[in-house]
């Protein structure tokens, strides 16, 4: 053996090959079809919105971590894209910049960056703009309008600190039939009209940029689960408990409460479940804990939707689940091998 240095390293000397950037990068890849669908549906405004929010998040992350370049872990990109997907497609860009900055600065960097945030950063950003701009965040535009690839929605380029213009007149010019300006959830809540499961699955309804097609989101989630980049138990727990709760309500009063399928497919439940509830940093680590956590989110989503002032409850349900995560972890420690009740 020739003369050279040998190195001392601690065991194990093999590794699974998974790393934080690999996981995060794959989550980003899995969101690209949803982004593509959103742009195809809403055109230039959605594209501008997604790009702006993502760029804001990346810039904020870089700005607040000047000593260490943390863009390489791809987590800020996930926050940006996810936040963009949960905003209405015609959301004014200056408000989107505020949302992106709040998401990274207050939602994540303030707590110490990756892995230290107690709440999902994208949801923190969205909760902030929901409180700050309640009108803009419930202003919806019709999907598949004729000029979506040639012109922006007027609200997109609202001057900073200004109210966005009224778009009723603009919507009328688009030649879209029967646009009500309300999401399926809002229509159910205020008019007691439910959208068909087919429309919800394929995404031909009014909603935020990325929450329209439940089917597409499910497929992207399946990719992540199969590649083991996502804990499949959390979506199963959330959707299962939401469906059970909705089913119980429907049994109680079928005339008033919609069927469970509508609850599962409408609003942000699907994207929230697949991409936000499963956020590793803010969900429990114990095997029992993930089921409890998912169950709480599912039940709370339905309860907020049915009894809250808002039409949509996923965001607050997940934030509540995030807040409970340390507590759940503490009380669901796994039984250590060789202690407690024995199998023999």
């Amino acid at each position: 053996m020739s003369k050279h240095r040998i190195e001392l390293r601690a065991a194990p000397h093999q590794h699974s090959g998974h790393s934080v950037p690999t996981i995060m990068r794959n989550v980003v890849y899995s969101m690209l079809p949803i982004c593509g669908f959103s742009v195809w549906q809403y055109g230039l405004s959605a594209l501008a919105l997604l790009l702006t929010v993502t760029a804001t998040c990346l810039a904020t992350e870089r700005l607040l971590n000047r000593n260490a370049n943390t863009l390489g872990d791809w987590s800020a990109a996930i926050t940006g894209i996810l936040l963009g997907l949960t905003l209405p497609p015609a959301f004014p860009l200056w408000m989107a910049i505020v949302a992106g900055f709040v998401a990274i600065a207050i939602g994540k960097a303030m707590f110490g960056g990756l892995g230290h945030n107690p709440f999902n950063p994208a949801l923190v950003g969205r909760a902030f703009v929901q409180a700050a701009f309640p009108v803009a965040i419930t202003t919806w535009v019709p999907a598949f309008s004729a000029n979506r690839f040639s012109e922006f929605v007027p609200t997109t380029f609202t001057a900073p600190l200004m109210m966005p213009p009224d778009i009723v007149g603009w919507v009328k010019q688009q030649g879209v039939d029967a646009f009500t300006g309300a999401t399926p959830l809002a229509r159910w809540k205020f008019e007691n009209v439910t959208a068909s499961a087919h429309d919800l699955l394929t995404g031909t309804v009014t909603a935020s940029a990325g929450e329209t097609s439940a089917l597409l989101i499910l497929l992207c989630g399946a990719y992540l689960a199969i590649r083991k980049f996502m804990d499949w138990r959390i979506p199963v727990a959330v959707l299962g408990s939401a469906a059970l709760t909705a089913w119980a309500f429907q049994l109680y009063n079928p005339a008033h409460y919609p069927d469970p399928l509508f609850v599962l497919l409408s609003g942000g439940l699907m994207i929230g479940t697949i991409y936000m509830a499963t956020d590793m940093a803010t969900s429990p680590v114990t095997p029992v804990g993930v089921w409890i956590y998912g169950g709480i989110i599912g039940v709370m989503t339905v309860i907020i939707r049915y009894f809250g002032g808002l039409t949509e409850g996923v965001m607050y349900a997940i934030l509540l689940g995030n807040a409970l995560t340390p507590l759940i972890d503490q009380y669901t420690q796994p039984r250590v091998y060789g202690t407690g009740k024995e199998k023999s």
Binding site: M1, I6, A11, P12, H18, V336, Y337, T339, K343
Partner: protein, 445 residues
């Protein structure tokens, strides 16, 4: 994931499926030549070091006793080659400390036949007497823990042993020496089981073998004694199947109570190679002078399983198997639990089951990211500990909390948590440090 209602190969919960690299598993065992000088360590087992009974300049024959045990939890050492005692001097060891070694200058062209034997009449011995004769053979646990085998087999007061589990799982990647000994020396293993049963009084023995070694299963089944007291059971290929607790759970469905030895639930576990050597050497009255070692790794040109005389320095070993210049890391043991050595002057001891040479690109030092709470380690830990929480506590040096609330002491350092960690946090190393700190705190302060 284990689905209910299906017939599963016996296994344990959690664990990992690393890449196994068992390419040397089909290569027959070969003999290794004597190095010009052998460095025979006096600390080749857990327990008190042996006491050297030779002086410098003395001539010793292969197989001759050169160090005697210091009490019951100690082992004798026999000369691995005929030659002259050149010195008694400290040499580097795998744990980084210098250990006292007997240096033997080997006579050139020496025969590999054992010259000195200490036979006994084994037929009419009681179990206790047999244990003391076993001690004279000097066999230490060959899986790597190097617990003196005779001491392990004597049942502690108040315990009845009902089962001997023979560990042929060999779950560590790269290592195939147990595999080869099961294929080539199945009869020796059965002999060893016979003696072990006489000492501990167990009515039955179960040999557990992972399902990636079906040729070993066939060889063992062909050698089983007719009375049905020994059975072979196939278990799932999963790391760490070969750890004591996991294999006992897989084979018997029992759990070893936390903080206790397996003898408390009536089980004694021995490695296949331990019993193969016991079965071969005990009737002949020979001492341990050599062992079978897997030499492998991406930087080894002629990997394989070799019978290596104890005390052979790694420098000679690596030269002989053609270690490439790309080797930057030499590991004693397997890649999951083995230790890298500080110097190639470290000699082979009774507990070395493998020597692996890794190059730089086989083990790139990864960038460490913060813990993202993915819970992979919680789902991998075979002891169902919570490495996530313990890792966060270790970073804050809250070692007492780790021990009191999260049962740090139960960790046997299999390395599954570090293996799966996407943030590349050296979890198991943090736990080693924490345990070492807690154990040695009194001495320092």
């Amino acid at each position: 994931m284990r689905l209910p209602f299906f017939n599963h190969t016996p296994t344990f919960d959690h664990g990992i499926h690393p890449v196994y690299h068992k390419e040397t598993g089909h290569l027959p065992i070969r003999r290794f030549p004597f190095a010009p000088k052998l460095y025979v360590s006096l600390e080749q087992h857990i327990g008190k070091p042996a006491i050297a009974i030779v002086r410098v300049g003395q001539e010793v024959l292969r197989g001759e006793l050169i160090a005697k045990p210091d009490g019951l939890f100690s082992l004798p050492i026999h000369a691995p080659a005929t030659g002259i005692i050149e010195a008694l001097e400290p040499m580097p060891s795998d744990n980084g400390e210098m250990e006292m070694c007997i240096v033997i200058r080997v006579y050139e062209a020496d025969t590999q036949e054992v010259q000195v034997r200490y036979p006994h009449d084994l037929e009419n011995m009681s179990g206790r007497e047999l244990a003391l004769v076993m001690q004279e053979v000097g066999v230490a646990g060959k899986g790597g823990a190097t617990f003196p085998t005779h001491a392990k087999l004597i049942p502690p007061n108040g315990c009845t042993i009902d089962t001997i589990i023979v560990n042929g799982a060999e779950c560590e990647p790269f290592l195939t020496c147990d595999h080869r000994i099961m294929v080539e020396r199945a009869q020796d293993i059965m002999e060893g089981i016979k003696y072990a049963r006489r000492v501990c009084g167990a009515p039955r023995a179960i040999i557990g073998v992972e399902d990636n070694k079906m040729d070993a299963v066939a060889a063992l089944e062909a050698a089983l004694p007719a009375d049905g007291s020994v059975t072979v059971k196939v278990v799932e290929t999963k790391y760490p199947q070969g750890a004591a607790e996991t294999l006992i759970t897989a084979l018997l469905g029992r759990e070893v109570p936390a903080g206790k030895r397996s003898s408390s639930i009536g089980v004694v576990m021995n490695n296949v190679m331990t019993l193969a050597y016991m079965g071969r050497l005990l009737p002949l009255g020979e001492g341990m002078t050599e062992r079978i070692v897997t030499i492998a790794g991406p930087s080894v040109e002629r990997p394989g399983n070799y019978i290596v005389p104890l005390g052979t320095p790694l420098r000679f070993l690596l030269e002989h198997v053609g270690a490439r210049s790309t080797a930057t890391e030499v590991i004693l043991g397997g890649p999951m639990m083995g230790t890298t050595i500080p110097s190639v002057d470290v000699p082979i001891t009774k507990g070395v089951c493998g020597v692996l040479a890794f190059g730089k690109k086989d083990a790139i030092p990864p960038q460490i990211y913060p813990c993202i709470h993915c819970g992979e380690c919680v789902n991998a830990c075979p002891k169902k500990l919570n490495p996530t929480q313990m890792g966060l506590l270790a970073a804050k040096r809250e070692y007492d909390v780790m021990a009191e609330q999260f049962m740090l002491g139960e960790c046997f350092e299999c390395g599954c948590c570090s293996y799966v960690c996407p943030s590349h946090i050296p979890l198991v190393q943090q736990f080693r440090v924490a345990k070492y700190f807690l154990k040695n705190r009194e001495k320092v302060t």
